[in-house]
Amino acid sequence: MSIPVAQVIPSSTFSHVGLMVSFMSLMAILCACSFIGVFDMTKQWMRDVDNTLTIEIPAYNTMEQSVLSQRAIKQNAIKIENFLEYDPLVTDIQIKTFTDGESDNDISIPEPVFMTVTLIEDRADQAEERLIRNITDLVPDVVTQTAKDWERDIHNIALSLQTLFGGLLLASFLITIFTISTIIKIQVKAHAQNIELIHLMGAPVGLIAALFKKSITIPVLVGCGIALCLACLSLYVLLALTGLHQNLYLCFMIAIGIVVIFITITRLTTEWTVRKALWNLP
């Protein structure tokens, strides 16, 4: 383009836009990374929740059923899924007692059986759900006690956090679009005479929009650059401190992506606003 930007709008016009976009993109990057971070935080919290559950097999009419169900847990559920650590002493003795019938006292009164199992796999990976599903298939009225309530609380907190971060991320985009389109409208009005003049001299609307885009892109690039540096630095420190640094690379990628989105948003909003504002020129 052979026309210097200053031909239509003084070049200092958009320097404050750079500052605004810088703030907004910094906020957006941190929000997006926090959004991702919440997944890891929840996993961490879930890991801290007691990784055991108790299983109660109700008393049955016949001993055989009780024995079968216990065996089922031990042999099938446990064996198939291979994520149960059980107390072999207790259960084995009980099972032996029922099946071998060595002790008359024990056989006479069928009792409910309690087992405490420790999940080998991570609770966060739905190991518990899978186990309970398997047992229920074999013993429909099995009673389990788990740390599910805690889990629900953690999920609720995670969900609220993610809603918050997602909302802020969306807000930062919307605020940027709104601010830029307002500023462009004002600038088009403020320079209406010069714009009309170069339009009458044969400058197509696309060229005028390009002039605006060019003059707004430079401060926005600077602003985004600063935001990117600040974001990377703070992410590095924060993630390293909290031990969540496995996502550092992903977060850097997100930061770059968001900066690119902001620059694109700026240019598209500018182009669109200028074209709309000049729509009525003959």
Partner: protein
């Protein structure tokens, strides 16, 4: 090049300023446009450089109805029309050089050629030493000379001049009229709105008169 047929113009909702205007500007034509103040000379000029669209009738540019022209085509045609505005319309924050270079830049001329063209032009209108000044630091006559230079620097196919000598002394006025005639000889269609009887007598050309919105030859 430009043809007006039964053209009428009214500013939004107001009375009709121009009524049933029929006019043709051909290659190499030279006309004066006269009429009392407020008769619509500037308004007619606006129709001729597509600053306004007619509210009635047809205007053709190079054989195409103005309403049928795309925005891009209109821009192309506007680049071939030089306009000297009654109120000069220089861009205040640009120096004289950039003001004069504007139409050349819109035409994508190389910066090297622009340098030569603008310096020659500035020399000719006697403002070579002012190229770095902003328009506000110039007298009315000097600003008018810049406005003229900007309009003719591209050697347009059509030149529309609204009171181009209003702020100039006789010497400069004649020099400028000479320039217009020179351009006209090379094919430019010239239309000058003017009150200056002395100059119009000295440089005799057919005259169009606007009276109560009508055009009388």
């Amino acid at each position: 090049m430009i043809n007006l047929a039964h053209v009428g113009l009214r500013y939004d909702g107001g009375p009709e300023i121009l009524t049933d205007i029929n006019l043709t500007l051909d290659k190499g034509s030279f006309h004066y446009l006269t009429g009392p103040s407020g008769s619509g000379k500037t308004s007619l000029m606006k129709l001729l450089f597509m600053g306004l669209l007619p509210t009635r009738g047809d205007i053709d540019f190079f054989g195409e109805r103005v309403q049928n022209l795309s925005r891009r085509e209109r821009a192309k045609i506007r680049q071939q029309i030089g306009v000297i505005f009654q109120d000069f319309r220089l861009i205040p924050h640009l120096n004289l050089f950039d003001n004069m270079a504007l139409p050349l830049r819109l035409a994508h001329m190389s910066e090297h050629k622009i340098q030569t063209a603008v310096h020659d032009m500035a020399e000719w209108i006697g403002l070579r030493d002012y190229l770095k000044s902003k328009p506000a630091f110039l007298s009315g006559g000097q600003q008018q000379r810049v406005a003229i230079a900007r309009a003719v620097i591209t050697k347009p196919k059509i030149l529309l001049a609204d009171e181009p000598t209003g702020s100039l002394d006789d010497m400069m006025g004649q020099k400028i009229m000479g320039l217009f005639e020179e351009l006209n000889k090379s094919g430019t269609a010239v239309l000058i709105a003017s009150h200056n009887k002395i100059l119009m007598d000295k440089f005799a050309h057919p005259s169009l008169r606007l009276k109560a919105g009508h055009l009388i030859s």
